[in-house]
Symmetry: C2
Subunit: 203 residues, 2 copies
Amino acid sequence: MEIEAATVSKGRPREFCVDAALAAALRVFWSKGYEGASMADLTEAMGITKPSLYAAFGNKEALFNKALDLYEREKTDYMRAALDAPTARGVAERLMYGALDMYSCPENPNGCLGVINSVACGAEAECIREAVVARSAAAKQAMLERFTRAKNEGDFPDDVDPAGLAAFLTAMNQGMAVQAGAGATRAELERLVETGLKLWPGR
Amino acid sequence: MEIEAATVSKGRPREFCVDAALAAALRVFWSKGYEGASMADLTEAMGITKPSLYAAFGNKEALFNKALDLYEREKTDYMRAALDAPTARGVAERLMYGALDMYSCPENPNGCLGVINSVACGAEAECIREAVVARSAAAKQAMLERFTRAKNEGDFPDDVDPAGLAAFLTAMNQGMAVQAGAGATRAELERLVETGLKLWPGR
DNA sequence: CAATTTATATACCACCCGTTATGGAAATCG
DNA sequence: CGATTTCCATAACGGGTGGTATATAAATTG
């Protein structure tokens, strides 16, 4: 009985690091979108050849989905953490400033991987769109639940709608992504965030 | 001296209506984006052949720019009209409800032509991106001037930033476009608009 | 040292892209 | 009518696409 199977492979070991290659692929998808990223773009950025890519990741779609997993795990984790803030305003602050940091980090490509690929073009990439939209919907749903709880806790007035606020924060995030993708500076995005928080209900 | 030159052409007249063909092309670009729309898609929707398209419109890029002109002229004219509202709140109402109507009109493709192509993929479409981003920036600038005037007229408190509000409305519009493109219903978008207006300063 | 297993490298596949050359049809002008 | 001009249809162009077959190199297992 083997506790850990195949920790040492039989044949020739691969010469590249799968994680590093995936991180490079993520950057390409993030910059160009699924359809805009060609296999040549990917292999060049990843530093491997096409057969190696196919052997390690399956195909372009499977590679994208793994990159999307990595993106959620490393880049949008602030969203999950934001929901733990004690007040609804705290949630909004963490979400907006988290987005601001991410979209204005010079090491990241401009914009949002999810937004780029949810408005993506072709019909062949429909499953890609669906995967991305599903994750966005899940994030919105988590916000909705958090704000419903907040309303019960008296975090904001009776006339505000938790679903509306969730949609609002989602729209702010998407708007920031689009403006960042269009080349907005950090200062401009900061202004947007501060305005959004000034408008946020309650304190 | 000819008042109107070339109203009657010398050779064989074309068998299709240029305006109708351009409208059809706009729908294709609006649905699939610049790069996602192939010449085959376009010619099929327009009901003409490729040589006819090239003779009448130049090339794909020129066709897109003419479609973009048509889009601004017919679909986003509500933005220009919105700025004439007497109060800043009226401007925001007209902008948001105008966007709502446009994005939830069943005759229109989902989403926003500008947003789709400002996050567009490839490097070859850079000039397309620039054209679209320039128009978006112009719209934002017009909002800024209107809100600066509104602030002087006392339309909202001293601590709100006209530039921030312009960015805010732009973000709301972009967020609505992304969510509409992802399949949001009119009711969902309505909720977003009503929340946005509830948060709007003043009144 | 074989034998085996796996990774890499080169080249290639059929297909689709935007664009254009070619050949014939249909209209106006002299 | 003949000449000319313009439009339409077919088909082809070079180049790029995602994906793969083949052959060689490098490692482990006996």
